[in-house]
Amino acid sequence: MSLFEIAIILLSIFMIASAIISIWFKDLLASVIALAVMSLLLSLYFYILHAPDVAIAEAGVGACLTTAILIITIKSTKRMEED
């Protein structure tokens, strides 16, 4: 098993873990943060698989615009606090 395959397997495990914890949180803001982590790791995954076009699109849309729209939506509605 080469180092490249080890990197791909580690990234897959991290992505699945962050997706699971993003739907496991009850707090909406923490859930958005976990979704941003999954978007970051997905961009790194696309980059390692030699698709820089898709990585740039994911960086622009996933890292900035999606999180911005979700936080604006949370701000204009009511957030369910954890306590």
Partner: protein
């Protein structure tokens, strides 16, 4: 009603004013070199929209909306779509079909590059279509974020 309470601190405003032109220039670079390097119309448009989102978060959406009306952004976006369709229809008359690449092999944009070399004026109609899609995405995504941010009420933490 001067909107001073919507701005963030002086540090954030200064850094945003310094980094906004750099991000916009990088967005234009990604759009213009779409047929040579990774990237293209959609990617560069998303980067440019993110630059406008940075201004919105640093200065407050109502201060930006006075300078940059959302009607103007909508007109910008529709202009991009119009350029796309008109260039595609030219393909019917000057070449064989809709969306045909009628400029390749000609003098202006149509230089065919050798393998590995890359002049900027190659690619036929691909740079024009890239610029059209870039205008569309910049106008559209920033207009969506601006309109969604305009309807937020007084938030209470």
């Amino acid at each position: 009603m001067n909107g001073d309470e919507e701005k963030m601190t002086v540090i954030v405003q200064t850094i945003a004013a310094l980094l906004f032109p750099i991000t916009l220039i990088f967005s234009f670079y990604v759009i213009m070199h779409g047929h040579l390097t990774p990237g293209g119309g959609f990617q560069g448009g998303a980067i440019g929209a993110s630059a406008i989102v940075l201004l919105i978060v640093a200065y407050g959406v109502r201060n930006i909306e006075k300078r940059m009306k959302e009607e103007n952004l909508s007109i910008f976006e529709s202009l991009g779509g119009l350029i796309f369709v008109v260039v595609s229809i030219f393909g019917i008359f000057l070449a064989t079909a809709f969306l045909a690449n009628f400029l390749v092999g000609k003098a202006i944009f149509g230089q065919i590059p050798a393998w590995g070399e890359a002049p900027l004026n190659s690619g036929g109609v691909l740079p024009i279509l890239n610029i059209a899609v870039g205008m569309k995405v910049i106008g559209g995504l920033s207009a969506v974020v601006m309109l969604l941010a305009l309807i937020t009420k007084e938030g209470e933490r």
